[in-house]
Symmetry: C2
């Protein structure tokens, strides 16, 4: 495996950096916006995740001897290589808090640094934030569907290689309770969970012997997988026998797990069998290609399920599998910058900026974020060319500034947060978002607009380019 | 970032391992099959990838002090932790060669080891092989569409975190020529490529100045991005000016890149402008949400494109984003094992096995793989319960055994292959596959069947479980 070094980037970042360096532009200060254009999963919000990891990586980023040797072999200029020897990211980062809810076409984060540093961190920034935000958003939808039931991430085997490590982290931010992924548990303090696979049952000559042996060595935390041969005629009845045997020794079977078949039907029938045997304390866990829609459907059918184990569809962020976040220059060399496009939704926003979230009196989100120049105190919300909706009168409403300085001169501005704090913050933010933005079908569109000053600056730059 | 240690696994592997250990079953030899059930992308084949990485990781796998401390804190038994201190994978692995074409429901790889070792490696095995095979397959489809044109991987920023590292590797196996991903280039010897982003153009007051500066410091390998403001009225004409300026200094502009708009139309118009200026040597590269279908369409429209840069859809394996590979026990404790299911496609195949590929006289693939017991010399191909097709008479045809011992007693059986060798092998194998299995729409189904002996063994075990 590799470590994150400053070569975890796209070649063109270094080609451009070298050009800036050789043209004497290395002190040119640039500002870049990180934002995305489309919400994943046809949903009404996204959960911003990956920031703490990113800040840790960026704070330590440098070129190793091997990196520099490699770049030398690729023909990069000697003076530029020498410059890279002392490369550190020394810029500022303004960001939404990790776990906050974010919406399209507004800066989620801004980087302000000399242009070489700002370019070199682009790839790792996009790679980390796009992916973790995608998965935290997916997890949050499953949490919404599951209500108070437990959600466990089982996805590592189907994850996109080591992406599974960050998927488990992001899932916890989005509301999962535990993971099967031990490395993520070890490094991030996520509760780890897992009991047995079909192979365990298969390795014994009969199912009951497998259950009893397993219960003997796992008297406290025993969950039995009941669908290896025949769920209702063999698996659950055998689990009952094992549970009774455990009771005799003063223990309790924690649960059974269903991993195939019609989970609504089988969970109801299994619940009946367990309850008839006086085992109403035994929980039912299910797995097998779950997603938020299946969880919602099972809940709607009143399937007596206590724990949902989710794999593939969580950790790859099915069906989107990528968040389309981009990193666009908004200021450079003392001037605001813009990218023009025939496609009006692809014209970028110039200048250093702030984002204000409009709040209702009670503190809930009013369904509108206003993008302003960084130091505007307050603003009405104007039409956003990307989202055709009316000007909203919001000047008299309470607002919350969303972008905070989290890194200054390459150093973190505040203490790192642990994952539990971030997940807790995300839950609080989600509680402030009205339900109509959370529903799966045609969620209400959260509005994003520009301040009048920013709109004027944008229009002026478009004119200048004509 | 983490390193691959033996805790890169699911919790239940260790819960089961502990149960085996405490029950005195740690010397129980088990055999597991790695296979998948469904071809990705509705295609006709898959490209097997990830094996070399997997063997490297498994060969070095151990529990670190931190891992053991963590497991101790999670309540694992003292004697088991002590056992894990000396854990190494000491088993055998039989596998298809990396880069070979593989089909559903037949073993791609078999692990034979004591049951604890075999379980602990399951998660990393699935994680690595599922993902790299998915991406190599996707890349191979793009190669099929692109013909002889160059394909460059631009995907790191949209990859699923560090999964992007292996995506770049797998893309090269599948037929890509280069990557923007420097770390993958450094570690795997993949050619790296990349020139400039829109931000480079934006950071100058005008486009021509940006082009000229860039050409001055990149006289050999200069590709200009021409769509920042207006492709045909500004970008390409400015590129022509820069190219002429380069010619005066004895250099040649390598190419221009189009990253938005109608790529067929813009490439044709750009080609006209370039050719009229006598710049017929300047290549045209395109990017922007490409996939195999768009590449095929552009080729069908005779768009004069030389280089395709592909990002998101390659590195996440859109739209599937996961290969459904599984790892199922087929032998344990001296006996063949099976998993029964109501769903006949989920019944597993018992025993140690071999796979024979039926060949035409000229050596091309005859469209049939026969799964046999490991030591059968030859076999007719019988009906496979998973794929309803007729028995094929193949006993007189030439056959190639596909599973090779690649690890014995935890040591590799042969020298590692480099990535170029693997990609070359994959290309050769693809050349042996008739076109009807390669086409995108309703590709012909490659047949997979069982030998008569294996079919009888399977049916007997099903009967035994009734």
């Amino acid at each position: 495996m590799f470590n994150y070094t400053a070569t975890y980037t796209d070649q063109y970042q270094l080609t451009m950096a070298q050009a800036y360096f050789l043209n004497g532009q290395k002190e040119n200060i640039a500002v870049f916006d990180y934002f995305f254009r489309k919400l994943p999963f046809e949903g009404g919000y996204a959960v911003f995740a990956g920031l703490e990891d990113l800040l840790n990586i960026i704070g330590d980023l440098e070129f190793t001897k091997d990196d520099l040797e490699f770049l030398r072999s690729k023909g990069f200029h000697h003076d530029f290589i020498e410059y890279l020897e002392n490369f550190r990211f020394r810029g500022d980062i303004y960001s939404s808090f990790e776990g906050d809810l974010v919406f399209p076409a507004r800066p989620v984060l801004q980087v302000e640094a000399n242009i070489i540093e700002a370019q070199i961190v682009e790839t790792i920034l996009l790679n980390m934030l796009n992916f973790q935000s995608l998965i935290a958003t997916k997890a949050s939808r499953m949490r919404y569907a599951a209500g108070e039931n437990a959600l466990i991430d089982f996805g590592l085997r189907r994850a996109q290689g080591p992406g599974g490590y960050y998927a488990s982290r992001a899932a916890f931010i989005g509301g999962f309770n535990a993971t099967s992924n031990i490395v993520a548990g070890r490094d991030y303090g996520i509760p780890v969970s897992g009991t047995m696979a079909h192979s365990y049952i298969q390795s014994f000559d009969d199912e009951l012997a497998a259950f009893n042996h397993f219960a003997d060595v796992n008297p406290i935390d025993c969950v039995l997988l009941v669908d290896t041969y025949d769920t209702l005629n063999s698996g659950v009845p055998n689990a009952v026998i094992t549970a009774k045997r455990m009771e005799e020794k003063g223990h309790r079977l924690q649960g059974i797990r269903l991993d195939s078949g019609d989970l609504a039907y089988l969970s109801k029938k299994s619940r009946e069998i367990l309850d008839k045997a006086g085992l109403n304390y035994v929980k039912i866990a299910v797995s097998n290609q779950l997603d938020e829609y299946i969880i919602k459907s099972l809940k709607g059918q009143e399937a007596p399920i206590d724990v949902f184990g989710v794999g593939t569809n969580l950790v790859i962020g099915h069906p989107d599998a990528a968040l389309d976040g981009v990193y666009k220059m908004s200021f450079s060399d003392g001037k605001p910058r813009i990218k023009i496009s025939e496609n009006v939704t692809k014209i970028t926003l110039p200048h250093r900026k702030q984002v204000l979230r409009v709040l209702e009196n009670g503190g809930t989100f009013a369904g509108a974020d206003v993008i302003t120049l960084r130091n505007e105190d307050d603003a009405e919300m104007m039409y956003h060319p990307l989202f055709p909706h009316k000007t909203l009168a919001v000047a008299n409403k309470k607002k919350e500034a969303l972008l905070h300085k989290v890194m200054e001169g390459g150093k973190r501005s505040s203490e790192p947060l642990n994952l539990t704090q971030i997940a807790q913050y995300s839950r609080e933010r989600l509680n402030l978002l009205p339900d109509e933005y959370k529903r799966f079908d045609n969620p209400h569109a959260y509005k994003v607009g520009l301040s009048e000053k920013l709109l004027k600056e944008r229009n002026k730059l478009i004119e200048d380019h004509k």
